[in-house]
Subunit: 171 residues, 2 copies
Amino acid sequence: MDVIAAIQRRFSVRKYGPYELEDEKLKRVLEAARLAPSARNVQEWRFVVVRDPEMREALVDAANGQQFIGEAPAVIVACAVATEHVMPCGLHCFPIDVAIAMAYMTLAAVEQGLGTCWVGAFNADRVRGLLSIPSDVIVVGLLPIGYPAVEAPPKKRLPLDEIVMQERWRD
Amino acid sequence: MDVIAAIQRRFSVRKYGPYELEDEKLKRVLEAARLAPSARNVQEWRFVVVRDPEMREALVDAANGQQFIGEAPAVIVACAVATEHVMPCGLHCFPIDVAIAMAYMTLAAVEQGLGTCWVGAFNADRVRGLLSIPSDVIVVGLLPIGYPAVEAPPKKRLPLDEIVMQERWRD
């Protein structure tokens, strides 16, 4: 599938079908993350793959009761180690680096016929506690993954000329 | 081009050929960013496209003298507005949202035969000053874009089993 087609087809899947997720497909998705770039190639991303149904239900509770997290056959919990690195521009590296890896996974998932949903609404301490994640590791996002049981809604986005400027800032 | 092929082929291009960058190709790359997801669909990304040679040279100076920024026919300066939003997990939305859009652009560029390089080593105040970017807007990254004049080096990445854990954290 073309990159641009995958970008167009990706949507936040909040309903999953009761199908198994093949190991081979999940591996391809994780491989996409592995190949992502990171500042100074630190590769500070770590991914905990949760398939156990009871643990997924516990993650639902830790994520404001968002039921689809429990419906998806797997949840990829994206974490960051070595979170102290800061770029010369002043921003921390880890949110950007882990986001790139997650973005790659969401597109690789579409290519495999799978859907995902970025989840940032969770209690980080509870997720850490459930998965025995050390306190110095930051949980950046939850990514439920599985077969979509809904159709993509139309995308609502600003037009290009509202987000792109030529040569300099324009108010 | 398949998503996974684009991910495999993308590399940090630090030498660009002296070729024009077609408007149509650049537009497709920016369109990829436009379609990216963001927390609560805030779409806080803004992109300043710098083609002017003198301004690109000034950006080189603002970015530790990284010459390839001036060689590339265009530099996409990725910015964030509405930077106050925080997700329930405690992380700011903007670095993640803008990184997704930038990740999409880097892959769409590969699909167009183009190369890019994430640049985080720059003086944010100087870049803001050069491009008249308001002080409450955060410059997240510079993305030179053009035709690569070098071959991709081999990717050095951790093996999958060092970055992926099953069911819970493992030291």
